[in-house]
Amino acid sequence: MADIGIKVVQVGANIDTTDIREILMSSQYSMLKYHSDNTASVTLVPGDSDKYAEISHALGYVPAFIAYIKIDGVQYFINPPRASDFTSYPYAWASSSVIRCGYAYSVGAYNQMVKNPSSGTDYWYDGLGINGLILVGNYTGTAKNGALRFPSVTIANNETIVSAFLNYSVEYKGAGTGDMKIKTYGIDEDNTSSFSSSPMGRPQTTAVTTQDVSLPPAGQGFGINVKGQVEEITTRAGWVSGNAMGFLVFDNGSPLNVWVEDDYGTGVDANLTIVYGSNKTVDFRVIIFKDRIST
């Protein structure tokens, strides 16, 4: 092909330059063609693990694009996170009809705290007065009670609690039939200490959860709604983020041999899951080009 076309070079550069950087425009080189400039927002609600917005482009093929994210009211960023050492990340992809921009959590969810007991002394089985496990319910005709403690609860004083669940893992259970009946209190202390002796007489929260539990098979679990207990503890004047929080679980008239046991360090341990705080808006800006990268 003959050397024909249009070429415009920088001031002072020779029109025959071979340095592409000196060329402002040349019909030898294509340039990305602008299609549209778009903004979108998503609102992360505490507990969300993935939220996204979609922008239609009506091009009928997959276009090139650039997506920017603004979070916490600061700058727009284009770069995604490193592929490790993160728990949340923005993403953006194009299909033949839309650009999807999202924000996701690879671990947990937005404003969700999950804590496990950290040692056997965070478990208490009052039936034998020992650490390392919790057993509650009716065990061979006797009511059994227990306690769980969760250190390093990172909820600020007076934080808004959206939900809170004490998730109890069923490692073993009794052969009786019917629902297990339990009552669960919080330990009404600023920073409850580990269970070197029976914690069952520690101060109780006013909030209590009375629950009939249809026990699932071993290997599964059930949740106890402890929102009120958590609110009561975290609004104590002396509560500080990072303190320990405990719960007392009492049998409340379970049928014969309807009991449940969870041992520390085996299978899945109990956890305290708290969803807290307020919503957060994540803004996206997406520049879409007419240039095709795929059909």
Binding site: Q10, M31, A64, S84, Y91
Partner: protein, 140 residues
């Protein structure tokens, strides 16, 4: 300097505008030129073995480190083309997707000779990954 050159504005914008966004082209401003993209403007592919990595090396023929845009269909067949960089897929695409190698940032880069892109395949089967790039004739 005399006010000469080439200017083209978008519809309904005056040729005397001082707003760069009003111009389709203006020789007063540099433009980002595509120096290289896949042949026939058709995406390229690379095979990544199960549990393995594969590196695409693209010689760009420029004497400097250029600006690059990269897109990858991280989950083959999804039709979802991710912008990236080191990228992680939408949670709905993670199963069955490759990642750009995250064990070392140095495995995906551009220098004055090549663009190198390393994909990791954490899945149990081989994957053929589609990617598209724009290498621009401007400093990166």
């Amino acid at each position: 300097m005399a006010n000469y050159g080439v200017k083209v504005t978008i519809d309904n914008k005056d040729i005397s505008s001082t707003e760069p966004r009003d111009y389709v082209f203006n020789s007063a401003y540099g433009s980002v030129k595509v120096a290289k993209e896949p042949a026939n403007k058709t995406h390229e592919t690379i095979d990544v073995s199960a549990g393995g990595t594969a590196t695409a090396t693209i010689a760009h023929g420029l004497s400097f480190v250029p600006l690059v845009m990269l897109f990858t269909e991280l989950k083959p067949g999804s039709g979802h083309w991710y912008q990236g960089g080191i990228n992680v897929a939408d949670p709905t695409d993670i199963s069955g997707a490759v990642t750009l190698d995250g064990t070392s940032d140095s495995l995906t880069y551009v220098d004055s000779t090549n663009v190198k892109i390393t994909y990791s395949n954490p899945t149990g089967g081989a994957l053929t990954v589609k990617y598209y790039y724009f290498i621009f004739g401007d400093n990166g």
